[in-house]
Symmetry: C2
Subunit: 310 residues, 2 copies
């Protein structure tokens, strides 16, 4: 049960003829979550073959246009497609006001309800949870209130091995008991310890989205051990002062956070439009954190297997 992240856009605020602003779809346990929604996100989803009707929820990091202007056209399109299920949108203030104005002026008659859930950008806490998945807010340091999001698979339920079922002739009641984690007493009175009967079908994995933000050591602690990290790197290492001033990170900042968090892999993006040579940027990160990749638009990054802990 891998986590897959499809990059729909990766540019910073100044538009280019080739790139789209921030947007990603995170597929975790076959649930699709949209994370940020820069202009053009719905066409980018169409290109990537992702049906917008399958979106389970939306997470918006902050109220800068390059992270959210694509959401409103998408909400309209979901209406045209006849969505009925309410759609939860997790976003900081004042998203509710923007949503209210959008619904009042453009879409007073949608067949479904977009529901705003306010994200407190000062808190690191669980904001979404179901049987298989947790999403945590991550306080980021930008010019306006901004949250990152940490997606975590929960420990999956135990499966009983085919071998054990045959070896011990387990009946349905015994199988259910084993799945609950119990030892099983056979008709022979022999007690088989649970760990001889069961296995975890997959190790729980995690993905963190962190854009836009200044360098934050506190952030690295909150995402400790994350399997894959997207961290913005708007500027080259030489532009440290500019990055700090504008509430952004450099390639080195992103790499340091990945290193401190002991991340499995680092994706960098949100590059300033001034940079044409992205390879030079990724090399700067790799000097500090070798497992760095450019979060190229149109690419799907998959966490297939739990890496072996160093």
């Amino acid at each position: 049960m891998p986590i897959a992240v499809t990059i729909l856009g990766n540019s910073s605020a100044k538009p280019t003829a080739t790139g789209h602003p921030s947007a990603q779809v995170v597929n975790i346990n076959e649930q699709l979550f949209l994370v940020d929604a820069g202009e053009g996100v719905q066409r980018q989803m169409a290109r990537a073959g992702i049906s917008p009707l399958k979106l389970r929820a939306v997470f918006i990091s902050h109220l800068h246009g390059d992270h959210v202007f694509g959401l409103f056209p998408l909400l309209s399109t979901l209406g045209l497609y006849g969505r009925r299920t309410p759609l939860r949108i997790y976003a900081p203030r004042p998203f509710g006001e923007a949503l209210e104005a959008f619904l009042r002026l453009f879409e007073s008659d949608l067949p479904y309800t977009p529901e705003w859930v306010e994200v407190d950008t000062t808190k690191h806490r669980i904001i979404f949870e179901n049987d298989t998945t947790e999403v945590w807010s991550l306080p980021l340091r930008h010019r306006v209130p901004t949250a990152g999001y940490l997606f975590r698979q929960k420990e999956p339920a135990l499966n009983v091995t085919k071998y054990a079922i045959e070896r011990y002739g387990l009946d349905p009641h015994q199988i259910v008991a084993a799945k609950r984690g119990e030892d099983v007493e056979l008709s022979s009175r022999e007690i088989i310890p649970n760990n001889l009967l069961t296995y975890r079908p997959y190790p729980p994995m995690s993905y963190a989205y962190c854009s836009d933000t200044n360098y934050s050591a506190r952030l690295a602690k909150m995402i400790q051990g994350v399997d894959m990290l997207y961290h913005e790197a708007t500027y080259a290492a030489s532009e440290r002062k500019m990055a700090k001033l504008r509430g952004h990170s450099t390639t080195e900042d992103a790499a340091k956070v990945a290193q401190m968090a002991d991340a499995g892999k680092l994706l960098i993006g949100h590059f300033s439009s001034r940079y044409k040579d992205l390879e030079a940027l990724v090399q700067e990160s790799r000097e500090i954190f070798p497992a760095t990749e450019i979060a190229r638009e149109g690419t799907t990054f998959t966490i297939e297997e739990k890496r072996i802990k160093r």
Copy 2:
């Protein structure tokens, strides 16, 4: 001094992986006007090599998202690019409320002022005018208040021919008088009639943008003699009832308006996403009005010369 119309988008509301929603740039007397602003318009301008900083004004037909959602990101970008000149946006109610919410929630600190000019969609009147150009509102028949726009070159000022200047030895005062349309008295007391001295540098031309609308014979009268007409044709001729119900036109409706208006050329677009074969659609229009073209995205249509009146 041709009029040039660059099609930036031509799709109807349902987004596709290949097309963009309605947006055009009209170049009239070297002034650039944006007409409708569907999502992605700023990237489409970049692709077409049109600098958004050169926009003189914006005209929005109506408040459906596929005609306006690209405007707000564009307004933000103009701020990033440091525009200082106010930008007038001609649009029906309630555009002012949308602009107010956008500025308050996303762009409280723009370096220029976007100024809304309300368009009364019930009136056919001049809403923009300068020395060379007029723009007229065109009442359209859609599900919400909607205006088309008629761009007209004014009769250009007279030029004095080189031949006359040399032939009669005109001095600067005499040239200025001739440009004002006056006859000129030479030092010999001979009076030269103005029509022997001057010419009109170009015949005034016109372009009408009509989307979205039901068929309207009244509209055809308002644009009588237009040199080029963009008229929506959301549906094939067989879908007349659906078109009427939805406040849209068929290929035949568009052709009839062009025919009644004695237009020079017809561009059709805003096709429903159900149609894959656009050639079949344009053929339907050509049965009635042969000079029909598909308003293909990325194409620039130019009115080079005044056609000879039939």
